[in-house]
Amino acid sequence: MDGEAQRSTASWENATLAPVDSLRSERAESPMPGLVEGTEPGAGQKSAMFVHAQSFEDLTAEGEDEREAELDKSGECADELKVLVGEKSVEEQHNIDVTSETRTKEEDVCSEAWRSHRKHVFVLSEAGKPIYSRYGTEEALSSTMGVMMALVSVVEADKNVIRSIHADGCKVVFLTKSPLVLVGVSRTSQTDKELLRELLYIYYQIVSLLTLTQLNHIFQHKQNFDLRRLLAGSEYLTDNLLHRLDRDPGLLLSAVTCLPLASSARDVVSSGLQAAKSESLVFSILLAGDRLVTLVRKKDQFLHHIDLHLVFNLVGSSSSFREGEGWTPICLPKFNTAGFFHAHISYLEPASQLCLILVSTDREDFFNMSDCKQRFLERLSKRSAYQALKEALKCPSYSVEQVAIPELRHFLYKSKSSGLYTSPEFPEVYQSDAEQERLMGLYQDLHSSLHHPSRPLRSFYRCGESENLLAWVTSGFELYLCFSPLGTKALALSAVNKLLKWIRKEEDRLFILSPLTY
């Protein structure tokens, strides 16, 4: 627990959010005028494309609910439980110290490097069998994972749930999603909730390959099953997803970004996809790298942003779709954990960035999907939209200078009702990977404060040595601004309106305002 108290950004232990050192936090004096959900810049004009996601509360809510349900079952009062958990954590702290010592002996040479990784992720079965480790081989870590499972079981035996251990600048977070247990070990300043969200993504990644039904089935029949057999050859997907979680603002914001494209061109592309429909087709998704060009869906069927991120991850991590047409079963866990969809995945041209994903319900419908793609391509090339699309690919981002706000370096803006976000390219100062990850870390901190489970903030201004940051959330949008250290708070506040005006002016290009259904 001492790790918690040492946190500098917000120490809610003593129930104040008073500034620590150079940090300042401010509550908004007045809410943003006239911008309610559905009218903010970037809000779709018709219905939303995605399952309505409040933000990341949606993501973690599920886990929390289950836990609360379990706690209720035990029939003890919550306060008592808290005490229990607190006591447990101290004990476990000792335990984990012991295990890390033995691990060092085992790992010998590579151990120091291994231990100093910023964030470890482990997946194990409820029998304690290793399934995945971000670093190092699972075999070498089987005893460590055994201990992790022991911790979970010991606490469970008391009708309780282990959530986290804080020790020595390290957080150990547990997520039990039967039949899997996920453990994150982090040296970052992320909150437990953020870490849980990341573990949940990894859980969904595994479900998307196998379905939950199959997972349950396997472990019901053979508790000791080595799941690595079934995940063999797909570890790179989990590795890449973890990398994305550190780098991609979309995963942080629970939102997706679009390829900037004139709305007239986007409409032609969308209607092309709409026309190339088929009975079994549920979603048609056109991607340009990591950006969404358009998404057409079956009426009344919504895609959840998590599922879309899993699709992004699959397409972005695999080079195999470059050759020919891909046809693969895929489970979209937020849609349905029980069954597979079948996705036809192919690039529009061999060297193109444009990738079309047609999600069908019928596993024998490959040729139908292939035909849908042909029809879409024919239609697209008949109109000039394809040319416009190719032009747009040449500048997939924009520079922050276009916004013309002094001292503004970078920003993230999410329209809550559409689930879409926009962000300029990183400026010179954040060109290196390390700097980009550092900035993402700062955004993550702000995000944690705005979405704090018990004391969420509406706005947060933070002065740092290398940059000043402002975060602002209303019912309509979420905004994170990064200014040079020369920026002032007054400047930052005045920038909000200016930026919103600019986004409003550009929203046709930056967002998908009129999503279509078949």
Partner: protein, 227 residues
């Protein structure tokens, strides 16, 4: 490697898709089976573009087409490059059902892939209707001569026992890959093409009629077997 001309009797040549076809074009469904990492996708890429690239593991299945011109007929190979990973095995029957040609691939430097190839052969035999599928055993990665774990003789004798055809290839170097495709083409044409309704004709406009599943479903071909 690209310049190497295939040496196959009959003056047959390989052509890319899209050239004029004065002769009848027949569709051939071909499936690539075998363990993960034996080089199925690399073989498919060689068939398709005569290139080599290392790729991430195949997800699900990849579909490619390749046109092969024989002296009196043109064959349009519709190649299903399946994923070798165990989690996809339940869907693999979709692809080998009704295939005219099946290449069972193993890695000559990995004995367990050879063992696995025999399991694939058994599975194929369950669905096998004599004369409907040309099954070819392919030992890939002969470029790894120093790590070889499965000898040519072993591969050949397995093929002989089961009455299969056998070739060793290197997708990395392009050795014997074009020759393999041409040999498969000849064999398929001889064995299946000659039969009444053995191979269906391919029409450019076929795409438009694809909704009509009953007339044109590749999964319901000459031998319809339930999963």
């Amino acid at each position: 490697m690209g310049e190497k001309l295939p040496r196959v009797p009959g003056g047959a040549r390989l052509h890319s898709d899209g050239l004029s076809r004065p002769v009848q074009t027949l569709r051939v469904k071909m499936v690539l089976l075998g363990s993960s990492g034996v080089g199925k996708s690399s073989l498919a890429l060689r068939f398709d573009k005569d290139e080599f690239r290392s790729t991430t593991p195949t997800v699900g299945c990849a579909y490619l087409t390749r046109v092969v011109h024989l002296s009196d007929v043109t064959l349009r190979f519709e190649i299903w490059d399946t994923a070798g990973q165990e989690k996809y095995h339940s869907i693999t029957p979709l692809y080998y059902r009704g295939a005219h040609a099946a290449l069972v691939v193993y890695d000559v430097s990995q004995r367990e892939t050879f063992v696995r190839a025999q399991v694939w052969l058994k599975e194929l035999e369950k669905q096998y209707i004599p004369g409907s599928t040309v099954i070819w055993l392919v030992g890939n990665k002969v470029d790894r001569a120093q790590d070889r774990q499965v000898s040519v003789q072993e591969g050949q004798s397995l093929a002989n026992d089961r009455g299969l055809l056998f070739t060793e290839t290197s997708a990395l170097l392009g050795d014997q890959v074009c020759e393999l495709l041409l040999a498969v083409a000849h064999r398929v044409h001889e064995c299946i093409g000659a039969q009444q309704g053995g191979l269906s004709e391919w029409q450019e406009t076929a795409h438009v009629d694809l909704h009509r599943r009953d007339t044109f479903n590749p999964f319901v071909s000459c031998c319809k077997v339930g999963p």
